[in-house]
């Protein structure tokens, strides 16, 4: 009888024990900082002062009135759209090509991942040179065709564009490989049948591949939304370390604004409030994108 009880306990409790390490770790390095940040955000809390006064939601109401926060949010959303959309479209196209019978397929597949394994700082420095105003490569090429110089860093649209190009460069190949993995699980006879019916490669992509890998697409949309909302290193290095993202904050993202509040002003209370706002906004953006990508299925 006792053995039987022990056996049942083992059956019931063991699975929880097996997953416990993750949740313990998550509590320590995920949940605790989250809750602690919420606690800090309710205080007037600067790093250099000892006393922390409870001020409730004042930091949040201030933040809602803070035009620099909204500016940063708008920049972030622009970068998000300009990076995620072309990035995922290009990745699908790239994966489709890589999924064909190619000579040296492993070589090509590895190559698309190369930009991703390069350090973001190295990428930013190289792109900084490409987008240089006086001696940048892109302006030099434009000059050859008498198209004039673009002051990439100063302009709002041009700087957002340049940063998005950097992000696209790094992440297109990565997403292409994820799509490729999903595509290889699509039954080949579907394509054979489609070919017999005279479907072109593009039609096969639209009618077979994309519907078949939709769960993967939803996954990448959500992951790149989260990544896009947190962009920090690219604008920071692009702006030569300017925490304000240019003199006019023309390319300051929310993460960069958060960094400025926390590590330039050392205003941890306000920065924590901004961090929580950012968290909520990311949840909303990811949720909207999830519903949107699921909708695509309903339309078809």
């Amino acid at each position: 009888m006792f053995r039987h009880k022990l056996y049942r306990l083992d059956l019931k409790a063991s699975p929880y024990l097996y997953v416990a390490p993750f949740f313990v770790l998550f509590l320590a390095v995920g949940m605790f900082p989250l809750v602690y940040t919420a606690w800090v955000s309710m205080h007037d809390w600067t790093l250099v002062e000892e006393s922390h006064t409870w001020i409730g939601f004042t930091n949040y109401t201030e933040l809602l009135k803070d035009e620099y926060f909204w500016n940063a949010l708008s920049n972030t959303l622009q970068i998000l759209v300009l990076s995620s959309v072309p990035q995922l479209l290009m990745a699908i196209g790239l994966a489709h090509i890589l999924n064909m019978r190619l000579k040296g397929s492993t070589f090509w597949r590895m190559s698309v991942l190369l930009p991703n394994i390069t350090s973001v700082v190295a990428v930013a420095i190289i792109f900084g040179q490409l987008f240089g105003r006086d001696f940048g490569l892109i302006n030099w090429v434009l000059g050859l065709f008498d198209l004039g110089h673009i002051d990439w860093r100063t302009g709002e649209a041009s700087s957002v564009f340049a940063i998005s190009v950097m992000i696209n460069w790094r992440w297109t190949g990565y997403n292409a490989l994820i799509y490729l993995a999903a595509m290889q699980a699509v039954p080949k006879d579907l394509y054979d049948a489609a070919s017999l019916d005279g479907a072109t490669s593009f039609q096969q992509l639209r009618r077979i591949t994309i519907p078949a890998i939709r769960p993967t697409i939803i996954f990448t949309v959500i992951v790149s939304t989260i990544g896009g909302m947190q962009v920090l290193a690219e604008p920071l290095v692009f702006g030569v370390g300017s925490m304000t993202g240019g003199a006019d904050r023309q390319f300051q993202t929310i993460a960069l604004y958060l960094y400025e509040l926390g590590f330039s002003r050392f205003d941890f209370g306000y920065a924590s409030a901004a961090a929580w706002m950012m968290f909520v906004i990311i949840l909303i953006a990811a949720g909207v994108n999830y519903l949107f990508t699921r909708r695509m299925r309903g339309a078809e």
């Binding site: 790093l47 250099v48 973001v120 700082v121 930013a124 420095i125 900084g128 040179q129 240089g132 105003r133 006086d134 001696f135 002051d151 860093r153 100063t154 920090l232 290193a233 920071l236 290095v237 030569v240 370390g241 300017s242 925490m243 304000t244 003199a247 006019d248 960094y259 590590f263 330039s264 002003r265 050392f266």
Partner: protein, 419 residues
């Protein structure tokens, strides 16, 4: 020590300053272990070896971080009350952040600071002290101020090239601007400006004012005519078209030195090292003249003893030895960091030193004159951030995004948000 190291520190800043570092110090095997945290290149490596030879019971361990990270780490370590080294270096631009919390440091007056006080000019000593008079830092190097210029471009533009004559061209900043207009009038090929951009000229003019961002512990950006003067001078120089519109420490700025797109730059002593690195092709074409408007200072560092240190006495001895004139002279000879100890300025090490890169300009004499005669300015805890806000404002004017008045109004708003 060097603003230049900012450029290098970006790389690390991009990864977000990780405020860690074990604060290990103590006695091991009879030896006292002293940790010293610096940034950039203080040129101390050989001195540590020498010191350990002189004091066999001491072991010196150095930690070098990039400038910005170093200071941010120190701020975090002081707040957390753990992690700081026995000796921590601080740079002038950041000093106010630390002199405003003197309780976190040992007072040098309790560790024999009074005996060596006479080595430094009064202002250098004061800038390492809190408003209440607690001395937290002993001076290492110093910036000084001069004007570096391209002698060859000046001559091509029909201006005098000789450094005496050039100094006479611009007793004031208005003269500097009108000289610039003459220079730009010559329309030399490849030259896009008389100076690089707003940051360096603004900091130089500001550094000459008796009162800067702070008056005592009060921020006076809105009312202080000195700040407005630095702003107006920079705006005027930009509106008459003298700026090459490059941002200091950017890649375009480096390229500007290499390609020679601008002909002058205000020059603290550490700037000469940057010019030599970036403008290698133009050795001998650069020269150094007096700065318009008198003298000034930008940069230079201090050694402090955080109260977390357990070996304050031994650390104080080491720091005093490192900042003594003999050691500062050694550093100047090997690295070029300009000494802050005035007693050295009559020494042949300084007086006879000429730089071949700068057309044999007597660098030692130029900077010692500048340092000895300058007016001190108080740096407060937020000086750095406030200057960034003002320089952003100037950049907006330069880029045509805002008129000077609108931009000034926004600067006032931004500064208020910082306080």
């Amino acid at each position: 020590m060097r603003k230049a190291a900012i450029a290098a520190s970006l790389v690390a800043a991009a990864l977000i300053a990780s405020g860690c570092g074990s604060g290990g110090s103590g006695e091991q095997g009879g030896k006292t272990k002293l940790t010293i945290a610096t940034f950039g290149d203080f040129g101390y490596k050989d001195l540590y070896t020498e010191y350990m030879k002189l004091h066999p019971d001491i072991e010196v361990v150095e930690r070098i971080t990039k400038t910005e990270d170093h200071h941010k780490n120190l701020i975090t370590h002081l707040a957390a009350n753990s992690g700081a080294s026995d000796i921590e270096a601080i740079e002038e631009g950041w000093a106010g952040q630390f002199t405003s919390q003197p309780g976190k440091f040992y007072n040098w007056m309790d560790y024999g600071g009074g005996d060596v006080k006479a080595q430094w000019p009064e202002w250098k000593w004061r800038a390492g002290s809190s408003a209440s008079g607690v001395v937290i830092g002993l001076g290492t190097d110093v910036g000084g101020m001069a004007m570096c210029y391209r002698k060859d471009l000046f001559e091509k533009a029909g201006l005098p090239g000789d450094r005496e004559a050039v100094s006479k061209l611009w007793p004031t900043w208005d003269d500097y601007i009108s000289t610039g207009q003459k220079f730009m009038g010559a329309k030399l090929p490849g030259v896009t400006g008389f100076f690089d951009g707003p940051q360096v000229i603004y900091r130089s003019v500001l550094g000459q004012q008796p009162i800067g961002i702070y008056d005592g512990d009060k921020v006076v950006v809105d009312t202080n005519p000195g700040v407005k003067k630095a702003w107006d001078t920079t705006v005027k120089a930009m509106t008459v078209g003298l700026s090459a519109k490059v941002e200091a420490w950017s890649q375009d700025w480096n390229a500007g030195f290499a390609k020679g797109t601008f002909a002058t730059i205000a020059c603290p002593s550490w700037m000469t090292t940057i010019i030599q690195e970036q403008a290698k092709e133009h050795a001998g074409k650069w020269d150094i003249a007096d700065i318009p408007g008198g003298t000034g200072n930008w940069g230079g560092s201090y050694l402090t003893l955080p109260k977390q240190g357990k070996n304050a006495k031994a650390a104080a001895e080491l720091a005093k030895w490192l900042t003594a004139p003999e050691q500062q002279a050694k550093v100047f000879r090997t690295k070029g960091n300009f000494p802050s100890t005035v007693t050295l300025y009559k020494d042949a090490v300084i007086t006879d030193y000429k730089s071949a890169f700068f057309n044999n300009a007597p660098i030692g004499q130029i900077y010692s004159k500048s340092v000895a005669t300058m007016v001190p300015q108080f740096m407060g805890p937020k000086s750095g951030d406030i200057n960034t806000a003002i320089i952003n404002g100037l950049t907006r004017v330069q880029d045509g995004k805002q008129g000077a008045d609108d931009s000034w109004a926004q600067v006032q708003k931004d500064v208020k948000a910082l306080l």
